[in-house]
């Protein structure tokens, strides 16, 4: 049974491309050992040797979480229309296209319906590869769509963030997605549907300062980066170096910002356990 059961909103499967492009072996950044890629995938992208975490695409993340064959991609077929005609070192339009080609995604998020240990839910997962997982009009719209779907089908909503914040290239429109998502989030509470926010590496700036921080329960994956301002900006402002664990998951837990820090291997169980209460 395929993991992704595609339906109406069929999206191109980018699995093949990845497989093609990449070697059979990858090197672990933590222990520098070569790991057989298949083995790594089977192991939630956690190094079987040292336990180090490999970066997860949205699709890979979904695979680590949902019951096999249960996930239906409901990501809306929309993409950025470059409302600002934004050009920096590259035209935004081009950048989006490039990112789409590289990732096989329309934008930095996948939203769908799935089950985690038989608990049905709407699951939205951000992908950091796509312009830093940044939230522009499309990501905002997809999150709101996901929430609305959850409300309609009376399902819990789970968001896995991996985002540097609001997308600069859509200017004020991106900033407004903070309000748009926060406003939609309220619908869940009104219907007594839980919203579980999972913060991974990184959950910062405009995303941490809006939807990601509004979970009824907030979970940080070990190894996450959680904060509003960037480390360098803060160091410049206060004129001193920050400790290495600054804005880490542990830091967030110690400062009452998240409910728990969870290993990648336990995330699926953790979510199933929480959903069970609602």
């Amino acid at each position: 049974m395929p993991l992704f059961r595609d339906e109406e909103y069929l999206r191109v499967d980018f699995e093949d491309k990845e497989e093609k492009d990449e070697a059979l072996w990858v090197k672990c950044k933590s222990c520098e050992k070569l790991i057989f890629k298949k083995k790594l995938q089977e192991n939630n992208h956690v190094c079987p040797n040292c336990g180090g975490y490999f970066f997860l695409t949205a699709k890979e993340r979904i695979k680590t979480l949902v019951d096999e064959g249960s996930f239906t991609d409901k990501t809306k077929r929309i993409e950025s229309d470059d409302p600002l005609n934004f050009v920096d070192t590259q035209a935004y339009e081009e950048r989006v296209e490039e990112n789409q080609t590289e990732t096989g995604m329309f934008d930095a998020i996948i939203v769908g319906r799935g089950e985690i240990k038989v608990n049905p839910l709407v699951l939205a997962v951000m992908d950091f590869r796509f312009i830093g997982g940044s939230m522009g009009s499309v990501v905002g719209e997809q999150i709101v769509n996901g929430i609305e779907r959850a409300v309609e089908e009376e399902l819990p909503f789970v968001l896995v963030s991996s985002s540097g914040g609001a997308r600069m290239q859509e200017g004020l429109l991106s900033l407004m997605q903070m309000v748009k998502t926060a406003s939609a989030r309220d619908l869940l509470s009104r219907e007594k549907l839980p919203f579980i926010s999972v913060m991974t590496y990184p959950t910062t700036a405009g995303v941490q300062a809006s939807i990601a921080s509004l979970g009824d329960v907030i979970i940080a994956e070990r190894g996450a980066l959680i904060g509003f301002a960037g480390r360098r900006v803060i160091e410049q402002t206060i004129g001193e170096d920050l400790p290495p664990d600054f804005q880490s998951s542990k830091f967030a837990l110690d400062h009452g910002i998240v409910d728990s820090v969870v290993e990648r291997d336990s995330m699926r169980d953790e979510l199933a356990g929480i959903l069970d209460f609602f």
Binding site: G104, S137, G171, V179, K180, L214
Partner: protein, 320 residues
């Protein structure tokens, strides 16, 4: 400077070509037309860029009137409330009960502070966690008594400090947005100077949002944007243009409801005209909003924010 040089070069080139033209049966008109067009475009670009950057400078002008001045001028009475009841009182956020057109409103305003000392006390308008918490407290208080909420936005952004992060400033901004967007009273936000990213929108999730003509509202500071995208903070002017952070653009994008003209060459020159215009606008918006029932108001607000965004349908496109 180098931009001006390029323009000068182009102008000289055109002059030289024109001088050569029609002499000895030479027809350079096409080349001249091309260059002239190029020059015009370039000039327009430069003007726009300067315009954007000028506005950034105007919005940040040291003499630009701040929240305190507007409150002094607009409110018949103002009773400041202090503190977040937990951590402290953030000088970068002033707020309290005010009489406006004879009615009580709750004012929540970012305060850069004028004098050097004041500016330090108010942390140059950069709020800390307790500032956002205070804003939330005042919003809830307003809701209890059904007072409309009026916010004045003027901040370079939330304070990027160690303690602020330890105190979950991101979460506090999120909470402010969330409280404000669900508030069961009419809300009007006015950007009077700098509307700096998340730190600004935290008190900007209003029914109506207006901007003073020379104020800016942006997802990131031009300097920050330049540093990240151009890897060069000095490209801030270019970034400012790209970000389209002026009131005109904000209106074009459908994000604000009105641009409020400033007097003279800006509010710092003609405060009274500016404040009168702001007064007029705020009064109108509040009056309009008071026609709605609570649930109508909320429904309208939700609909408004539901629809903000710009995207297109994906056409069948080839993907690997």
């Amino acid at each position: 400077m180098s931009e001006e040089k390029t323009l000068q070069e182009l102008r000289e080139q055109i002059e030289q070509l024109e001088a050569l033209n029609s002499r000895n049966g030479l027809d350079l008109s096409r080349e001249i037309d091309n260059l002239t067009e190029k020059l015009a475009e370039r000039e327009k670009d430069t003007k726009e860029k300067l315009e954007e950057w000028d506005k950034v400078n105007l919005a940040r002008h040291p003499d630009r009137p701040g929240s305190e001045e507007y409150l002094d001028y607009l409110m018949e009475d103002f009773y400041p409330l202090h503190g977040d009841r937990l951590i402290g009182d953030d000088g970068a956020l002033i707020g309290g009960l005010a009489k406006y057109n004879g009615e009580t409103v709750m004012v929540i305003a970012q305060n850069k502070g004028g004098e050097v000392e004041q500016s330090q006390q108010s942390n140059f308008g950069m709020l800390r966690s307790e500032g956002y918490r205070k804003a939330q407290r005042l919003m809830k208080l307003a809701e209890t008594f059904q007072f409309p909420v009026l916010t004045l936005i003027d901040t370079p952004g939330a304070y990027p400090g160690k303690e602020a992060e330890e105190r979950n400033i991101g979460g506090m901004i999120a909470k402010s947005i969330s409280e404000m967007v669900s508030l069961e009273v009419p809300t009007v936000a006015a950007v009077i100077g700098e509307g700096g990213s998340g730190g600004a929108v935290a008190i900007g999730a209003a029914d109506r949002v207006v901007m003073l003509e020379n104020s800016i509202y942006s997802v990131i500071s031009p300097e920050g944007c330049a540093a990240i995208l151009w890897e060069d903070r000095d490209k801030a002017d270019e970034a400012a243009r790209a970000l389209k952070l002026t009131a005109g653009h904000a209106q074009d994008l459908g994000i604000i409801d009105e641009i409020i003209p400033e007097g003279g060459s800006g509010a710092h020159e003609d405060f009274e005209t500016t404040a009168d215009n702001l007064d007029h606008s705020l009064s109108n918006h509040l009056e309009e909003l008071e026609n709605y029932e609570e649930d109508q108001l909320l429904a309208k607000r939700r609909k408004k924010y539901r629809s903000i965004g710009s995207f297109k349908k994906v056409m069948k496109k080839e993907q690997s």
